[in-house]
């Protein structure tokens, strides 16, 4: 029986929920085996230079220690950079743990202790002594930007700044209203709650089962095979449950290398888990300086946009993100110049963190647009609406859909924007200054190549298998819903197997593309099944479906039937039984449509409204209300979709107000490398957040009409908060995060 619980659009509670809430869902470092060895990394305490000597004798003699690895005794690994490049590697030389005596950044892992217990490995590591020849660190973006350069090898063509159009300088000079401002943003760390960990279980034949915290099991598998010269069939990587990642798990981390290295060398099963401190020496959102020059005419039409960004990268790789191109497509503007450069610093290579590029770019763009709206004397929302654009001006492409206008309208109504008093510092609630801010967010809706295998059994049960990952995104649940819908079942009949490199090929989970890609692959798999069933049914004598085509069919009550008349049909069991089959499989594959891409491009959009209340005397900020309206095509599961957006907003609040990796530029060290002093939002920081999904039909973004939601929640939240703080206090803050001291100093008299 069809019931609403099957279908796409139903807020089905996560199917993996009962396992998660009872502590029975296993994460990477939670697999065990008798006799498992445990590794603990030891890291460098200078940011640049060389190791002149490393004394591991005390650690080696520590009770329970099996072996200590350094650059001096590590097993041989692949020598070419190519072998070290993972699926999402960057231009440059990938980092190789224990490669040699060079120190490229503070916190670089330089030794690994393997012991019989966690405690022994941890405690022995404290006994390692190292002498260095230190060189001067360079970690201050505001200084190093003087030596910035355009990346010689682009990470992706799409990340290159779009060509200039019109005459941005001339238009700027001629315009009556203009803003020229610099926005500086501190580095941030992902800090997923689960620590990076890898458990390698070694079978007697030497093959490895690797439980890894990663956003792509097949990426980790390929990486390990490449470095250690292993045959893919001897390495299986599993990431069934991932305790958050937010981009930090896109590229393999050193604990994977260490665990596999030690397992191969010692011929034992090995587990390596990072410490929270170690997680501050990895992948991070880079410190960035952005310069915006924007101008408008007397009617508030945008005349000119110039956006220049300089971002931090490491000595060994050129990390890049799309920071500036958003400024050429978010609004209608005919005179645009965009530029993007990098500055090399003695830090670990930055990496994608939730909405990489957009979270940064929109911080500057949406602040500058806001500043300009005041300069023109227009309501900030009106100003944005007035500059609405319905195509991609950067590449002169059509959009698959853009219901941003609905986002503005529905969001504003829900928020009560019309009651806003226009002047800064004009709204109060007792001791509090009140400010309302708005911002626009955009994120790319992409499809990445994906496969999925769907299998239907005569009793109506279904399995879905793909190497896709669920990093908290709800992948398990939505794939079950899509398969249930495709095969006329309830979601509880679907078993979803994901997070395993041996399953159908899937790209790493990132960029919000999993729902669209793997979801479409599952849908395609279901279609394959219906096709196969039809052809089997038509082989039967006097088949009632003899003349039917696959488009006319549906599956109901375990029967393949005509959609318009479900009296006509055959039971699945009979169809399969007639061929002696016990199940039927559909192998769904999707890939981006190259032809369509020549004409269309697809984006997810949002409008964010925030209310901040700020103590008029002390500057304590509270974000008391957020309404975010999102246009993201089809919403498969409103419950998990809402959570994704909520999560993005919360991370955005941290970015706006207190997340900051504080570097001592004398030593090049991040000093607040812990969760007590790196302040991610806590419960008390998060009040009402309302998520609206506006209606948006899109038949081109992906075959299932999904655009993806993992990133859009965070985009422009920082600016929306900064804009609200401006409205509350009359002071424009351009250094992020906007901590309490900055707000206090900027309070009206």
């Amino acid at each position: 029986m069809q019931n609403e619980k099957n279908i796409i659009g139903f807020p089905l509670p996560r199917i993996d929920g009962p396992l998660k809430v009872t502590g029975t869902a296993p994460y990477a470092a939670e697999y065990d085996e008798p006799g498992m060895l445990v590794g603990h990394a030891f890291y460098a305490t200078i940011a640049s230079g060389r190791i002149t000597s490393i004394d591991t004798s005390a650690a080696e003699n520590f009770p329970g220690v099996v072996k200590v690895y350094t650059h001096q005794n590590r097993p041989a690994t692949a020598s070419s950079d190519d072998a070290w490049k993972d699926e999402v590697a960057l231009p440059g030389h990938p980092f190789r743990p224990l490669e040699n005596d060079r120190i490229l950044y503070d916190g670089q892992p330089i030794a690994l202790v393997i012991a019989e217990s966690f405690e022994a490995a941890r405690d022995a590591a404290d006994l390692i002594r190292v002498d260095y020849e230190a060189e001067e660190p360079h970690t201050d973006i505001e200084v190093e930007q003087a030596k910035s350069y355009p990346p010689p090898v682009p990470r992706k063509e799409a990340f290159l700044p779009s060509d200039p159009r019109g005459d941005a300088d001339g238009a700027y000079a001629a315009a009556p209203h203009k803003i020229s401002a610099e926005y500086v943003q501190a580095g941030e760390h992902h800090n997923p709650m689960e620590l990076f960990g890898t458990t390698v279980i070694r079978a007697e034949d030497g093959s490895l089962t690797v439980y890894d915290k990663t956003q792509g099991s097949q990426n980790s598998q390929g990486y390990v095979c490449g470095i250690f010269g292993l045959k893919p069939e001897t390495v299986r990587v599993i990431n069934a449950y991932v305790g958050g990642a937010f981009g930090s798990g896109l590229r393999p981390k050193h604990q994977l290398f260490f665990a596999v290295m030690a397992s191969l060398d010692l011929k034992r099963s090995v587990k390596v888990e990072m410490s929270r401190r170690e997680m501050f020496y990895l992948t991070w959102r880079p410190p960035t300086v952005q310069r915006m020059l924007v101008a408008a005419d007397a009617n508030g039409r945008l005349m000119s946009i110039r956006h220049h960004a300089v971002q931090t990268t490491s000595l060994y790789e050129d990390y890049q993100e799309n920071v500036v191109n958003w400024s050429g497509l978010a609004y209608k503007c005919d005179n645009v110049t965009l530029s993007y450069e990098l500055a090399k610093m003695t830090v670990s290579t930055p990496g994608d963190m939730r909405a990489p590029g957009a979270a940064t770019g929109f911080l500057a763009l949406e602040s500058a647009i806001d500043e300009l709206s005041y300069e023109v004397g227009m309501d900030p929302l009106e100003f944005r609406i007035a500059n609405f654009v319905d195509y991609d001006q950067n590449d002169d492409l059509q959009l698959t859909s853009k219901a941003l206008d609905l986002c503005y309208r529905q969001g504003a109504e829900r928020f009560g924007w019309s009651k806003r008093s226009p002047l800064p510092a004009s709204m109060r609630d007792g001791q509090d200054l009140v400010g309302w801010g708005v911002a626009t967010g955009v994120w790319e809706a992409t499809l990445s190549p994906a496969e999925a295998k769907v299998r239907l059994f005569p009793d109506g049960s279904i399995t879905v298998a793909a190497a896709a990952s669920d990093i908290g995104t709800g992948t398990y649940t939505i794939l079950a819903q899509i398969a249930a819908q495709g095969l006329g079942q309830t979601a509880d009949r679907v078993s979803v197997l994901i997070g395993d490199s041996s399953l159908a090929k899937t790209a790493v989970e990132g960029g919000s593309w999993t729902a669209a890609s793997s979801g479409s692959a599952v849908q395609a798999g279901c279609f394959e099944i219906r096709k196969t069933l039809l052809s089997l049914a038509q082989k039967l004598d006097s088949s009632p479906l003899a003349g039917a085509s696959v488009e006319d069919l549906a599956i109901r009550d375990n029967r393949l039937v005509l959609d318009r008349n479900d009296q006509v049909g055959l039971s699945i069991a009979d169809i399969l039984g007639s061929q002696g089959m016990s199940s039927v499989e559909g192998h769904g594959k999707v890939a981006p449509d190259e032809e369509q891409a020549k004409k269309f491009v697809s984006y997810t959009h949002s409008a964010i409204f925030t209310e901040v209340k700020i103590d008029a005397e002390l500057g304590v900020p509270r974000v008391t209300r957020v309404v975010i309206a999102v246009a993201a095509g089809t919403i498969i599961n409103p419950k998990t979709a809402r959570s994704q957006v909520l999560g993005g907003v919360v991370m955005g609040l941290g970015m706006a107000l207190h997340e900051e990796s504080m570097i001592d530029h004398r030593s090049g060290r991040i000093m607040n490398h812990n969760l007590a002093e790196y302040h991610v939002p806590a419960h008390a920081d998060v009040q009402d957040i309302e998520v609206i999904f506006v209606e948006e039909e899109d038949d081109k973004a992906s075959p299932i009409g999904v655009k993806g939601l993992g990133e859009i929640g965070i985009v422009a939240v920082g600016a929306a908060v900064a804009n609200a703080i401006y409205h509350a206090t009359g002071t424009r803050h351009r250094h992020f995060p906007i901590t309490i001291d900055k707000i206090m100093e900027g309070l009206p008299n």
Partner: protein, 173 residues
């Protein structure tokens, strides 16, 4: 396996009742309750998010009170009753708080979740949080990087609202 070398270091006896099962253990004094649970006892439902009292992922109930198990040496707890997430319910027989978390989607990745739930159960037993603002403040020792806070507060309010005194007591057990 026989950890021969490590055994040369002193061990201490400790008796713990974990989820109703008494365990007589001999352990090194530097083993934390968290590492004891996650390691030798295979109770990996209790999570390690920071190992320093900064996140709450390791929250368990010791003699009914919520504490961070990462900062407790297990030897110091001789005689204590410990309830971990595994002791609250199972996938087939969930505790009211666990059910509410599923219903309200009060998690995403699920990693902070056992700590949030143990903390919420402790919160209810304390009986001090009355308003949503108080729930938020008194749950602030549990960081959720997925940002599920709004839903977590909903789940807790839900259980609080439905709970008569009796069922609240039950929830705390």
């Amino acid at each position: 396996m026989d950890i021969a070398t490590a055994d040369t270091q002193p061990k201490n006896r400790v008796a713990l009742t974990i989820n109703g099962n008494r365990q007589d253990l001999e352990i090194h004094p530097w083993v934390t309750l968290l590492d004891l649970l996650r390691g030798p006892l295979h109770l990996t439902g209790t999570k390690k998010g920071c190992d320093h009292g900064q996140c709450g992922a390791c929250t368990v109930l010791v003699d009914g009170e919520r504490v961070n198990s990462c900062l407790k040496f297990a030897v110091t707890l001789d005689g204590a009753e410990i309830t971990t997430i595994e002791g609250l319910g199972t996938p087939d027989d969930m505790h009211a708080m666990q059910k509410a978390f599923v219903e309200h989607d009060a998690y995403q990745c699920g990693y902070c979740t056992p700590g949030q739930i143990c903390s919420a159960v402790g919160l209810l037993a304390e009986g001090r949080a009355k308003s949503r603002e108080e729930i938020r403040e008194m749950m602030s020792g549990n960081i959720c990087r997925c940002g599920a806070y709004v839903n977590i507060a909903d789940a807790i309010e839900d259980v609080m609202g439905h709970g008569s005194d009796a069922s609240q007591k039950e929830a705390a057990e």
